[in-house]
């Protein structure tokens, strides 16, 4: 396998237009001053330079989707009986994510273990996932806020991608990694380029050489665990946080949702929407009791989930891909890297103390 083709920069738009007949195409494009993933429209252009502010997760988990519709009918004669019919609305149609970054593609695999794992399967997610193709663009630089290298990834990692694009001078080497990817590369827009494979490999090596040598956040789930009872630590960590939840909405690995009903007379629908654990209402119980009453509790859960709970449940894979979106978009510049590094330090110190 691994066919390689060459895609000239100016051929991207025509190619995506061609694909738009068969797929809903999501691509990074400008929206005002920010780059976001949006439905491809040639008029909006494509931004291949910047990491988008929003992740591509909506391709698999839309911010709002209908789970089923219902209709209530009453018998005409007394005693009036009600009947309720439910109509599930499973998603149809193929989606192509173009220009995902390696962190975005890896993030989708973090969803897979939860939504398409061994226990419960989410039929809506599974339908979208089976119909999704991911074309990933290898990064040629890291932003100051990027840290994929510290959480098990890399700026040129192809994990979870169907096609990997490597930028060269006048365009991109496209390598197929799956059957879905192979099919995509059959387009006549591409030029044959098996000879460019080596050049692409070299470019990726060069990128990797630029990645600074810094400590990894892997294998620390036990460290964090030892800090769980230290609410003082989390209190200090969460001090500036506004509980706005922006970090979770922009995070490619955050997948929590809410389920609510919307009714219109005799019919209506049950919908699910993104939700976030930084909000104080997330765990508020009917009785008024709240098991995560403070920011400290909620920050502990957010960081704990990404760096300890999830890895414990899923083969040590962290549920953070280091995209840095939560850092660059937090209104109070909360930096999850510092929080995690502090936690490691604190836990190490406590351990040494215990050995003295």
């Amino acid at each position: 396998m691994t066919t390689a083709r060459f895609l000239k920069a100016r051929d991207i738009a025509p190619w995506l237009e061609e694909l738009s007949t068969a797929y809903t195409v999501l691509a990074p494009a400008r929206h005002g001053d920010t780059v976001v993933f949006r439905d491809f429209n040639p008029a909006n252009g494509i931004d291949m330079e910047h990491l988008s502010a929003t992740p591509a997760k909506k391709a698999l988990l839309p911010p709002c989707e209908t789970l089923f519709e219902y209709k209530t009918t009453k018998t005409e004669e007394p005693p009036y009986k009600t009947a309720i019919e439910l109509h599930p609305t499973l998603p149809e149609g193929k989606v192509l994510v173009f220009g995902a970054r390696p962190c975005d593609a890896r993030a989708m695999q973090i969803f897979d273990r939860v939504y398409d794992g061994n226990q419960a399967r989410d039929p809506y997610y599974t339908a979208r996932r089976n119909n999704a193709t991911i074309v990933t663009l290898a990064c040629d630089h890291q932003e100051e806020t990027c840290f994929c290298d510290r959480v098990g990834g890399s700026p040129v990692d192809a994990t979870g991608s169907d096609v990997l694009l490597t930028p060269l001078k006048a365009g991109y080497v496209a390598e197929a990694l799956t059957d879905k990817g192979e099919t995509l590369l059959n387009s006549t827009t591409f030029m044959k380029a098996d000879g460019l494979k080596q050049e692409a490999l070299n470019a990726r090596h060069k990128m990797l050489e630029q990645v600074p040598d810094r400590s990894s956040f892997l294998d620390m789930e036990r460290n964090l665990l030892s800090l769980f009872s230290d609410l003082g630590f989390w209190d200090k960590t969460a001090q500036a946080c506004l509980s706005c939840g922006a970090c979770t909405y922009l995070c490619p690995t955050c997948y929590c949702f809410n389920i609510t009903d919307e009714s219109h007379g005799d019919s209506g629908k049950r919908i699910r929407t993104w939700d976030n654990c930084m909000s104080s209402q997330f765990t508020l119980e009917g009785s008024g009791h709240n098991p995560r009453p403070t920011k400290a509790h909620r920050m502990r859960n957010r960081i704990g989930h990404k760096f300890s709970y999830y890895p414990q449940l899923h083969d040590k894979t962290l549920a953070c891909v280091g995209c840095g979106r939560c850092i660059s978009n937090c209104p109070v510049s909360f930096d999850i890297r510092n929080a995690v590094a502090c936690a490691i330090q604190q836990a190490d110190a406590a351990r040494e103390h215990a050995h003295d």
């Binding site: 009986k81 009947a83 439910l86 039929p123 009714s263 654990c277 997330f282 709970y309």
Partner: protein, 279 residues
Amino acid sequence: MTNNPPNVYLPDMATIVEVVQETPAIKTFRVVLNSEERMRAFHFEPGQVGQLSVLGVGESTFVINSPPTRKEFLQFSVMKVGELTGHLHKLKAGDQIGVRAPLGNHFPYASMKGKNIVFIGGGIGMAPLRTLLLFMLDNRADYGDITLLYGARSPRDMAFGYEVEEWLQRNDMRTVLTVDNGTPEWQHKVGLIPNVLKEINPGPENTVAVTCGPPIMIKFTVQALQELGFDDEQVVTTLEKRMKCGVGICGRCNIGTSYVCKDGPVYTLAQLKQLPAEM
């Protein structure tokens, strides 16, 4: 990836066959799934829960508080605390309701065989205990002494009154009732559950304590049990968490690595001590 997983979000439609007003705030709903086949195949264990839907309003979690040994209907007892429970309370026999069940784990009744059992229920927390108690009474020979301590705010807040009378009469179990605020007619104890528990003073020897109630009651009951010499493995409790999906996906109900909707709601104190303190 499978192609057609069953739809875990789609409720079974069911018919309410009977509504019982238990207390001013609690109503019991007896429901039968509309599909005879689904009803016949419905299998659950004591302690498992379900999501009840009022279409157009939403879903909430309730224990199936009838025991699996009695299967003519599924019983849910609902305390009115907010929006969905308020709508549930308006429903009558013959009305339609959505049911997603059974969800979650169940009481470890097999490992409780041969042991003495102390039930300690507070308010609506009696609902899950009722399931297990009836199950044990239906398999009476499998268990040792059975003690029930049931507390409510006032005499009229005690649910399952019809059964409580019967339990008081039975000579194969001991039933102790208590209320926070008595009335002149009240024949039983007055006092908070943890205090009454210490008064009854059950021995920990070959005994399992099963408790459910509001978080604050559980907290002090657990302390009382520890003072009485119960160790962490001998205390079983069920937890309440706000739930949505009920199947371990939506991420709402976790305590550390444990998802109350699928790994719970039943835990031993030993298991809870392994998790962050987010009761």
